[in-house]
């Protein structure tokens, strides 16, 4: 086959993927953008026409929006803090020699494979339930009164659930990165008189730098979009205490049927995610040529 025909075949092979992504992602996104400037309510089809920025105004001035933004940031920040710090510690721990290490690792990464709805329900009912949950029992054993997790600390509860799901991801990545650490370099550092703490600070953590960046970016992307965990535990409540941006948009669109406002919210969420994505894509792009 000549070079030219080969190239044409290659373009042809790429076409279905590109077409599917355009139809499935770009077209809806463009439509969302368009809808965000329209009056469009499924309950009130008579209302229509160009809305200018009023959907954005409506969404941005909604007190729920400010709270949802704060909650979204707290959720992302809280989960990141727990999983990055915990992940590094667990990565270091499971990089040490121990009996049954492979098996223990399997147990540690297991939570990542549990579907979000299941983990949220298990935590909500069997662990955090103030009457019958394990946490209540532990509190009682310690002589404390049980905590009403989901009603009194809804956002913290969700942070804990999501952190439990993502801690394995961080651990797994840090472990993988640690295993690629050059052992001769470690030995050289020991010859140079570096103690365990020096090696951690000057060799291991810098080596993990890239992995830490990856974990932060990837988790941010997924946690910005957390939905199912809120849906099945608190439904965003009490009030808006545990509503994040995706959940607010969902409520706006599929429960209050205000398509225009929901679209404006969605565009705001996309912009927010894109700020993170730009960094993530740069990172992956650097990897592309490596």
């Amino acid at each position: 086959m000549s070079g030219y025909r080969m190239k044409r075949a290659a373009r042809l092979a790429l076409a279905p993927s590109v077409a599917l992504l355009i139809v499935g992602m770009i077209v809806p996104l463009a439509t969302t953008l368009w809808l965000s400037f329209r009056y469009y309510n499924l309950m009130n089809p008579a209302l229509g026409g160009f809305a200018g920025l009023s959907n954005y105004e409506f969404f941005l001035t909604d007190p729920a929006f400010a709270q949802a933004i704060v909650n979204t940031i707290l959720l992302v920040g809280g989960v990141l803090a727990i999983t990055v710090a915990g992940g590094i510690l667990l990565g270091l721990l499971f990089d040490q020699p121990m009996w049954g290490r492979g098996m223990a690792r399997l147990l540690v990464i297991a939570p990542f494979f549990v579907m979000p709805t299941v983990s949220a329900l298990v935590w909500k009912n069997m662990l955090m339930h103030p009457g019958y949950g394990i946490f209540a029992w532990v509190a009682m054993k310690l002589g404390l009164s049980p905590v009403e997790w989901l009603s009194n600390h809804p956002l913290l509860s969700i942070i804990l659930i999501v952190a439990w799901q993502w801690l394995p991801f961080a651990t797994l990545i840090f472990l993988t990165a640690l295993q690629s650490l050059d052992h001769e370099q470690q030995e050289a550092a020991r010859m140079d008189g570096a103690g365990p703490l020096d090696r951690l600070v000057y060799i291991i953590l810098p080596h993990l730098g890239r992995a830490i960046t990856v974990v932060i970016l990837m988790e941010t992307i997924f946690i910005l979009a957390i939905f199912a965990e809120i849906f099945v535990t608190t439904s965003g409540g009490p009030g808006y205490a545990s509503t994040n941006l995706p959940y607010l948009i969902y409520v706006q669109a599929l429960m209050q049927f205000d398509v225009g406002a929901a679209s404006a919210g969605a565009i705001i969420a996309v912009v927010l995610a894109n700020i993170v994505a730009i960094f993530a894509i740069r990172l992956a792009g650097r990897n592309l040529t490596a």
């Binding site: 993927s17 992504l21 040490q96 020699p97 147990l107 990542f112 494979f113 709805t117 329900l121 995706p246």
Partner: protein
């Protein structure tokens, strides 16, 4: 004495490691154990750790009350369907970009990645409206299609990085040896990247099985896979913890096994090849 210190260290690490591992695994273990308890035992307080009866009753009741098996099959169809169709679309794309790169290849890859970064909620409204008017709401083809689109970038990327690892020399040798593009794909490329192809499929099965944004918003009864069906247990009335546990156990065990098998490749897939 000199040989004792490493052993003591190892013993300490073993203790610490297993303590942490069991703590993190406890919610899953607890779910599995509870699924074999009676409803009364499930909400006993103080909790009964070990089931006294080891009953399978919950598993039967979950099926009887709610057509559990139907939802299970929906999950299977959704995961396998989106994976197989996805691979058929993604393999040619990854082949094209890995071995016949054009000036635009880099941009196409970046663009694909960026669609994955876009929050699904950004597409929710139009997709919901289109699905509604096209009669795709609560249908298997509909949910399969949207999950497929969501995971396609990851599939293409993963395959691309695996294909890229095949030395250019080998493919050139193949051309010198007179292989056509098709024979090259069948005799050399796919056999050599078999581990990569397999782990791409496994990762996609995991992601599709656990998908819970689109399934919750676009399916209700008929086409609901387990991820959406389980959510119906969140209703406050009645505490059917044993049955919830049975339904949950069945929902997570298959994927847990697949996840354990593919843990290494998973890192790679979820970081778009940035960490190997």
């Amino acid at each position: 004495m000199r040989s004792l210190r490493p052993t003591l260290f190892k013993a300490a690490m073993t203790f610490l490691g297993w303590a942490v591992a069991l703590l993190l695994f406890f919610p899953i273990l607890w779910t599995v154990l509870t699924s074999f308890k009676s409803e009364v035992e499930a909400i006993a307080f103080p909790p009964a750790f070990w089931p006294s009866g080891w009953t399978l009753e919950n598993y039967f009741e979950v099926q009887e009350r709610s057509e559990y098996f139907g939802h299970f099959l929906n999950s299977v169809a959704l995961s396998l369907g989106s994976t197989v169709i996805g691979m058929l679309i993604a393999i040619p794309a990854a082949w094209s970009m890995a071995f016949q790169p054009a000036a635009s290849t880099r941009h196409v890859l970046m663009w694909m990645l960026s669609t994955k970064m876009m929050p699904a909620v950004g597409a929710l409204v139009p997709v919901f409206l289109i699905f509604k008017s096209a009669g795709l709401l609560d249908t298997l083809p509909g949910i399969t299609l949207i999950v497929l689109v969501g995971n396609l970038p990851i599939m293409v990327w993963m395959l691309y990085t695996y294909f890229k690892e095949i030395p250019a020399d080998i493919l050139e040798a193949c051309r010198m040896d007179g292989a056509t593009v098709w024979k090259e794909l069948v005799h050399v490329l796919l056999p050599m990247s078999l581990p990569g192809v397999a782990s791409t499929m496994l990762l996609n099965i995991i992601l599709a099985w656990n998908e819970a944004f689109w399934t919750l918003s676009l399916t209700a009864v008929k086409a609901a896979p387990l991820s959406a069906f389980i959510a119906s247990y969140s209703s406050p009335q009645g505490l059917f913890w044993a049955k919830l546990s049975a339904a949950s156990t069945l929902a997570i065990v298959p994927i847990l096994i697949i996840g354990w098998i593919s843990q290494k490749q998973l890192v790679r897939g979820l970081t778009f090849g940035a960490v190997k």
